[in-house]
């Protein structure tokens, strides 16, 4: 939205894109196999779950918040949906309930933060533990499988649509919708406003509490959607699913140039950020970097990107 405001931010916005291209070029030089269609589809599919969560995280971070509980939300909603399917409930209904549960878990975060005036970091740190704990209680610490062969459910994680993996389609459709919401709707404008200057927003008659509750709910919903995709892919729900997903999502948002203080950023950047992480994961494998060392490289790239970003702004 603020793309046109000033030249400096234009440069800032294409920087992640340049970074992505650079990484792709380097990896391709080292292993041309990276650019094969099948590998690219693979990368996109791997990216889709993190990207979905990161899109929601973008809304939250734009309001000046953060959510550490998304990984646990993913685990809990996945387990509950899977549990219901395994017990013979109509899969579509079970999936819808899972999505609803995700939105509710997110709304709980939002209410604690907006109405309880608890710092988002602390509030979601606590709910992260609670949601993860509930998942372990619900699953008794064991994976849930035997989810039936509902076509809709199976397609969600494993299907193809004109040769494109369904998770990638889901990601792109979600991206389109969320991009539109952020850019064209009053809700999107209010998200930026609350993060840009909460006091001025309230004094302009904006109900900032409601906006906050909505963005956390949206993130919860997207985490639940990711959970369904993941559960479908693995054909089972794991109680430990989604661990550290919150950090990958935050990393994608930050790599995309969205300010952690809120009010500035865009969702296109987040998509690129998620792609950078995905390409790194895949590419480091392809060029034979030992898996323990991959983490070091990933962390270093994130650090480098953020440091470069600082340099530009100051």
């Amino acid at each position: 939205m603020q793309l046109k405001n000033n030249n400096q931010s234009v440069l800032q916005k294409i920087a992640p894109f340049i970074g992505l291209i650079l990484i792709i070029v380097i990896i391709t030089i080292l292993n041309p196999g990276f650019l094969s269609v099948s590998n690219l589809m693979n990368v996109l599919r791997q990216v889709s779950i993190n990207a979905l969560i990161a899109f929601g995280m973008t809304f939250v971070i734009l309001t000046g918040g953060i959510d550490l509980s998304v990984g646990a939300t993913l685990a809990l909603t996945g387990a509950v949906s899977a549990g219901m399917m395994a017990s013979g409930m109509d899969p579509i209904f079970a999936m819808l309930l899972g999505l609803l549960l995700g939105a509710v878990l997110g709304a709980i975060n939002g209410i604690i933060i907006a109405k309880g005036k608890v710092a988002p970091f602390i509030a979601t740190l606590a709910t992260m533990t609670i949601y993860r704990g509930l998942t372990l209680v619900y699953t008794d610490g064991r994976p849930i499988s035997g989810l039936g062969d509902s076509l809709t459910f199976q397609m969600l994680g494993k299907g193809y649509f004109f040769g494109i993996p369904i998770p990638v389609v889901t990601m792109m459709v979600s991206f389109g919708i969320l991009y539109f919401i952020l850019k064209k709707t009053t809700f999107g404008r209010r998200v930026y406003a609350v993060g840009g200057n909460e006091e001025a927003s309230i004094l302009s008659g904006i109900n900032s509490d409601r906006i906050k509750i909505y963005v956390y709910s949206l993130l919860g919903l997207l985490a639940a959607l990711s959970a369904l995709i993941l559960t479908s892919r693995l054909n089972s729900a794991q109680p430990t699913a989604g661990e550290m997903f919150e950090l990958d999502a935050i990393a994608a948002v930050v790599l995309g140039g969205t300010s952690l203080t809120g009010g500035r950023g865009w969702i296109v950047g987040t998509l690129i950020g998620a792609l950078i992480i995905g390409v790194l994961n895949n590419g480091l494998n392809l060029i034979g970097v030992p898996s323990f060392f991959q983490q070091v490289v990933k962390g270093a790239v994130i650090l480098l990107a953020v440091l470069l970003d600082r340099k530009k702004t100051t």
């Binding site: 405001n5 009053t186 404008r189 904006i206």
Partner: protein, 500 residues
């Protein structure tokens, strides 16, 4: 002790100090007075090394000095006690007193706590304060914390102590104590510069007074040879000219009637009426509770008690959203922190209060948004490079117009303006006055807070004067004089005015 001659200082082309002279004798208590924005703080910041002057000479004890940092001023014996006290509440009193110059065993960094506490006890005892130095500073009242600040200053051998509105948050008894301490130190040869808006205090405490106005030195008097009235005149005396455009509005029926509004610690028993087409001003000094009153009316701060009637109907306004829906607009005092989203474009800022009007089913119509922007830019004469210019890159006057534009979009029936022309240049000021007049002529009820007395007199049909949370006067157009308003704003009694 200190002699400042011909001091000038500008900020981005704006001359804040113009050839100001100031002299401080050893062992005197010297008051510095002037309206908000007269240059008092800037002058003190130049003296204490926070700002560097553009021109002029500063001499301390006959020697020319060039402070480039507060540290240097401190070494020369000049200490400043700011309105916001520099006390760390969770540290002990002794820790606060020795902050940054702790006594340690050699260079080990191990604190000699007992020794520092003993010294602290002695220093504070000398100033008439008997406390346990190991208690956290937060256990002290604000008045006692102030004494600790003074103790801090004299324990670094300060010979000049600058105090900025030290009594703003103190009770009468604490003020007495503070004054006792100041007089005691005066006897030991310490000089004070005392900045205050409170006339009574200055007359009971100070020896001399220097008055600034619009960044210029107006005069210096011995307190024993001057009067309330003379000082007020020196502070406000400037020509009104035709800075204020004419208004032809008819004052209609009652728009807003408030009775007995209370908010603990901010204001009490506020009652007034405001009519359609009327410009009602609230005058008073900073901290008198004016902003809190209007923020409560706007639903931003909670009221403890009181009733509000809007268009003759009893209403409860508990959120700004509700106030907006009723047709109340609020142009805030601090445009950067409350009025604008500085990273947003001008257009987006204007839209902030009008999102419902420029959208359908939650979708923002780019056309409607642009139309609103165009209308407002034309109506208010906002000078921008285009709708996408970031609000932060506008001049103060144009920023202020953007904030006003936000509220004109809702076609307000009641518009609250809090210091609408602060930090705005003369030309833009007059434009803002014209906008206010035009609104009043259309029947909009205007509630305007202002600390600039000429503005109050030039614009208002009626003025409420507030002092320490209470309305001390309700003056009609022909009763308003700057002297009278200042008198009531500084806590003067009704009787004194009748005698004039």
């Amino acid at each position: 002790m200190i002699k400042m001659t011909d001091i000038s200082k500008s900020f981005s082309g704006n001359k804040v100090l113009k050839n100001v002279d100031f002299t401080l004798e050893k062992g005197e208590i010297h008051a510095l007075m002037g309206e908000n924005g007269a240059g008092k703080s800037t002058l003190m910041k130049v003296m204490s090394g926070i700002y560097t002057r553009d021109s002029g000479i500063i001499e301390v004890k006959g020697q020319k000095v060039d402070f480039t940092s507060p540290k240097q001023a401190e070494e020369a014996g000049i200490a400043v006690i700011h309105q916001e006290l520099n006390i760390l509440p969770h540290l002990s009193i002794a820790d606060n007193l020795f902050l940054g110059r702790e006594e340690t065993i050699g260079r080990t960094g191990i604190l000699k706590t007992k020794q520092m506490e003993k010294k602290t006890h002695q220093i504070l005892l000398d100033l008439g304060l008997d406390v346990d130095p190991s208690d956290p500073a937060s256990t002290l009242s604000v008045g006692k914390q102030q004494i600790v600040e003074i103790a801090k200053a004299i324990s670094v051998n300060a010979e000049v102590i600058i105090m900025d509105e030290p009594t703003a948050a103190l009770t009468d008894r604490e003020i007495d104590n503070l004054f006792k301490t100041i007089r005691e130190l005066q006897k030991r040869g310490v000089s004070f510069i005392y900045i205050s808006h409170r006339m009574e205090e200055i007359f009971s405490l100070c020896d001399r007074i220097t008055i600034l106005r619009d960044g210029e030195f107006v005069g210096e008097r011995k307190i024993s040879e001057t009067s309330f009235d003379e000082i007020v005149q020196m502070m406000v005396g400037r020509e009104l000219g035709d800075r204020f455009p004419q208004r032809k509005s008819t004052i209609g029926e009652i728009k807003l009637a408030v009775k007995g509004l209370n908010r603990k610690g901010c204001f009490e028993d506020i009652s007034f009426e405001l009519r359609k087409g009327e410009v009602l001003s609230i005058a008073g000094l900073m901290g008198a509770g004016r902003t809190e009153v209007v923020q409560s009316l706007f639903g931003y701060k909670k009221l403890d008690s009181g009733s509000i009637e809007f268009d003759g109907k009893q209403v409860k306004i508990d959120t700004p959203k509700k106030a907006k829906e009723m047709g109340i607009g609020y142009v805030t005092e601090d445009r950067k922190s409350e009025g604008l989203i500085v990273d947003f474009s001008v257009e987006e800022n204007v839209s902030m209060t009008n999102l419902a009007a420029i959208s359908k089913n939650g979708l923002i119509s780019k056309d409607k948004e642009r139309k609103l922007y165009d209308t407002m830019v034309k109506r208010l004469g906002i000078r921008t490079s285009g709708p996408h210019q970031a609000a932060k890159s506008l001049s103060g006057g144009n920023q202020q117009k953007v904030v006003i534009a936000k509220w004109l979009g809702i076609e307000p029936e009641l518009l609250i303006l809090d210091e609408p022309t602060r930090g705005v240049d003369v030309g833009a000021k007059k434009e803002i006055y014209s906008i206010i007049n035009e609104l009043a002529e259309r029947g909009v009820a205007i509630l305007m807070i202002s600390s600039e007395l000429p503005e109050v007199i030039g614009m208002a049909d009626r003025v409420l004067v507030m002092h320490e949370g209470k309305i001390t006067a309700d003056l009609s157009k022909n009763e308003m004089t700057q002297e009278r308003i200042m008198h009531f704003a500084t806590g003067g009694e009704k009787l004194a005015v009748e005698e004039q």
